[in-house]
């Protein structure tokens, strides 16, 4: 097997695994019972799926110009996906969109009033 052949195989494995993980993330989004669980699907398999697809593309394309762009995509994905998941989850929790019957414990509930009081004078500013 030539070097090119090995690289092609690695790229193919990366892309297929990445695509499957993204598919799993989509299925998880549909199947998970509540919003907070769904955000897990949006934050993890999807990120790794994208990273793997990008790796596969980088191996196949192999020009510096494209790889730098892909590095940027990867970095921003890693930096923003957790923040997005957190913001959506936080808003949903405060709005009572989570299903508490699925929670073994909830150590946030007793403290939530504290934060509500804190933000009470200006409720519109914080979600």
């Amino acid at each position: 097997m030539t070097v090119q052949g090995v690289l092609d195989a690695v790229a193919a494995v990366c892309m297929v695994t990445g695509a499957l993980l993204s598919l799993a993330a989509g299925i998880a989004l549909l199947r998970f019972p509540d919003l907070l669980s769904r955000m897990h699907a949006a934050a993890k398999p999807q990120v790794l799926g994208l990273l793997l697809v990008l790796t596969g593309c980088a191996i196949r394309i192999g020009t510096v110009l494209d790889i730098t762009t892909m590095v940027l995509i990867a970095v921003f994905q890693l930096a923003t996906a957790p923040v997005a998941a957190h913001m959506v989850g936080r808003a949903a929790y405060r709005d009572g969109q989570t299903r508490s019957d699925l929670l073994l414990t909830d150590e946030l509930a007793p403290h939530l009033d504290e934060y509500a009081d804190q933000t009470a004078p200006n409720p519109e500013r914080r979600p």
Binding site: L20, L21, A24, A25, I27, A28, R31, F32, P33, L36, S37, M39, H40, A41, A43, K44, P45, V47, L48, G49, V64, L65, D66, T68, T69, V71, L72, L78, A79, A81, P82, V83, A85, H86, G89, R90, Y93, L102, L103, L104, T105, D106, E107, L108, A109, H111, L112, Y115
Partner: protein, 187 residues
């Protein structure tokens, strides 16, 4: 906010770091490192920071390259485990149980909290539901919790992640705080 406690020099350093970071991004966007890209990037970076000033970030630690590598290696390993775990849960029948736990971080700097929160969101089972800056507490939503013992294990996992991060970029004082803490079980 830790903002006002920064000295002038620290503020300058945090701005210079931001400018360098933005120049790097600009060069990567154009796909090549040339003088033209660097100079135009610098102009845009300064403009951006004037129009949208970033809150100053206090970086009191120092880089320990070996621990940085360990942190990232472990982080990517965890990311892979987390992804397959969620993928597995997606195909398993039944609704996965979860829990929200409060984890009090030992190092309360903004930078530490942000980085731990980011990393925690990407590693197995956890997602940030709420963060309290005053007490340095992260409220973490854990997915796929089996029972109370498993929950404690996951809680310890978060503290271990913090310890790895502090070992990588924390200051000596922060490192001592993490090492002294009895909350951390033997890794």
């Amino acid at each position: 906010m830790n903002g006002p406690s920064l000295t002038k020099r620290e503020r300058l350093r945090s701005r210079v770091t931001a400018v360098i970071g933005l120049i790097l991004v600009w060069n990567l966007l154009w796909g090549s490192f040339t003088w033209l890209n660097t100079i135009s990037g610098a102009v845009i970076a300064v403009l951006l920071l004037v129009v949208f000033p970033l809150p100053p970030v206090k970086f009191g630690g120092r880089l320990r390259p070996l621990h940085v590598v360990t942190f990232f290696a472990r982080f990517f390993f965890d990311l892979v485990v987390a992804s397959f775990q969620v993928a597995f849960l997606a195909f398993r029948p039944g609704e996965p149980k979860s829990a929200i736990v409060a984890v009090r971080l030992r190092v309360r700097s903004d930078l530490n909290m942000t980085l731990v929160a980011e990393a925690v969101s990407l590693v197995p089972g956890s997602l940030i539901a709420e963060a309290d800056q005053r007490t340095g507490t992260l409220y973490i939503h854990m997915l796929g919790v089996k029972d109370a013992a498993h929950l404690e294990h996951l809680r310890a996992e978060v503290l271990r992640l913090e310890a790895r991060l502090v070992r990588a970029i924390g200051s000596d004082a922060e490192l001592r705080k993490v090492n002294d803490s009895r909350e951390e079980p033997a890794a």
